[in-house]
């Protein structure tokens, strides 16, 4: 990784000093052990502060949505998939961003990850990403084998921890609605209190809103201060989208999102009797 971070710093510095970008979005050392923190560098000489290590956990693609300056961004595999999504959905213009791809430095908590290297980049930093795994959705399938009662109890228990700080939503690059449905007050869909019902509706709806766009980066779950198991919902949707519509989000810019389209022959498992009748 030493060589990797040197390359990142050099390239970032070059981009700033040649005026190709006004800001570099990357990571710098954090204040807690094992945590690096997002940073916005505007001076070439500050590029030495950039780091690329196990602590670079946030999904930086999120920041491009608010960035008005021409920016370079240092990204790993899942950030790049989020970025592809944002481009597909016309949330970003490609010529406003210089993408510095780097091999993913993360090892923990990403066991099933298959996309460790960026799928889109202008410059690719050399170096080897960690081993990719095999995602067989073991977690989702194991959970689905529990009884409905057990599943419901688990889900209720998890969601009852939620304090509705919206860290999950705000950390998620797919959650960019100008006005989120929870903030909408005409009508007010979701109550402001942390009653279980409102928490449940929030998390279920969010999982559905990001279905087909979620890249399983885990930013939501890492952001949650209460340790709510949010990812299981997203991964269930991931599995369904993959199996039913043969779609994986953020791999190609030109692919149409599965929920924006249809196939006349789509299955109808939601009908009584699974749509066979």
């Amino acid at each position: 990784m030493d060589k990797c971070i040197r390359e990142i710093r050099d390239k970032a510095q070059e981009l700033l000093e040649t005026g190709q970008v006004e800001v570099v979005i990357g990571f710098t050392a954090g204040t807690l052990p094992g945590k690096s923190t997002p940073c916005f560098i505007t001076r070439g000489e500050d590029c030495k502060l950039l780091v690329w290590d196990e602590g670079c956990k946030n999904n930086l693609a999120n920041y491009l949505l608010k960035e008005k300056r021409k920016a370079a961004i240092i990204i790993k595999g899942c950030d790049s998939r989020s970025l592809v999504n944002l481009l597909t959905e016309n949330q970003l213009s490609r010529d406003r961003v210089v993408i510095l791809g780097a091999p993913c430095p993360l090892t923990e908590g990403c066991e099933g990850c298959q996309i460790k290297s960026p799928v889109i980049y202008d410059y690719l930093v050399s170096g080897k990403a960690g081993k990719t795994g095999e995602d067989d959705f073991h977690d989702v399938k194991t959970f689905a084998r529990l009884s409905p009662q057990e599943r419901k109890e688990y889900f209720y228990k998890e969601v009852s921890k939620c304090i509705r700080c919206y860290a999950c939503r705000n950390a998620c690059p797919a959650c960019y609605c100008r006005e989120c449905f929870v903030e909408n007050n005409l009508p007010q869909w979701v109550g402001k209190s942390t009653q279980l019902a409102d928490n449940l509706i929030f998390h279920l709806t969010r999982a559905l809103h990001v279905a087909g766009r979620c890249v399983d980066c885990g930013a939501c779950q890492r952001a949650c201060p209460m340790g709510v198991d949010l990812r299981i919902l997203n991964r269930k949707m991931l599995l369904e989208v993959k199996e039913l519509y043969q779609f994986e989000a953020g791999l190609k810019e030109e692919q149409e999102l599965p929920l924006n389209t249809y196939d006349p022959g789509d299955p109808e498992p939601f009908l009584a009797g699974g749509g066979e009748a």
Binding site: P148, A197, L204, T205, L208, K236, E268, F270, A272
Partner: protein, 138 residues
């Protein structure tokens, strides 16, 4: 159990007209259902269904048969949403019968009445619904 309350989201062009036909044909169906008319089944956001379950025991969503959508493809796009919603609900342990879908055309008054009878009976047969954990006092 107490009589369940059911909400039906019906598309304006087919299913609502089907309900209308059931009415003018004097077909009997349970009074448990409250109808919400929507422009198209494609307008039914999963949020509508989840929110309806806060106050009711079952939800039926019905639209035009695939191929017959007034807006050509509203119901075809909706199919994918419904598929995912249904599978997510099932995943978190919500009974299959609690949230139902159907295609009902303007000519299918009988089908509408039968569907309401079935949904009502089926929801009645389920364990009482906690309405997402119920309203808590605070």
């Amino acid at each position: 159990m107490k009589e369940p309350k059911i909400v039906a989201f019906l598309c304006n062009w087919c299913s609502y007209a089907g309900a209308d036909l059931a009415g003018v044909s004097r077909l009997q169906y349970p009074p448990n259902v409250r109808i919400v008319r929507v422009p198209c089944s494609g307008r039914v956001d999963p949020l509508f269904i989840l929110t309806a379950l806060k106050h009711t025991d079952g939800v039926l969503t019905a639209g035009c048969h695939p191929g017959d959508c007034h807006y050509t493809s509203g119901n075809l796009v909706a199919r994918r949403k419904f598929t995912l919603l249904k599978s997510l609900l099932e995943f978190v342990g919500i009974e299959e019968k609690r949230v139902q879908f159907d295609w009902i055309s303007a000519a299918e008054g009988n089908r509408f009445a039968a569907r309401i009878r079935d949904v009502t009976e089926e929801v009645k047969g389920l364990e009482p619904w906690d309405r997402w954990g119920g309203r808590q006092d605070g």
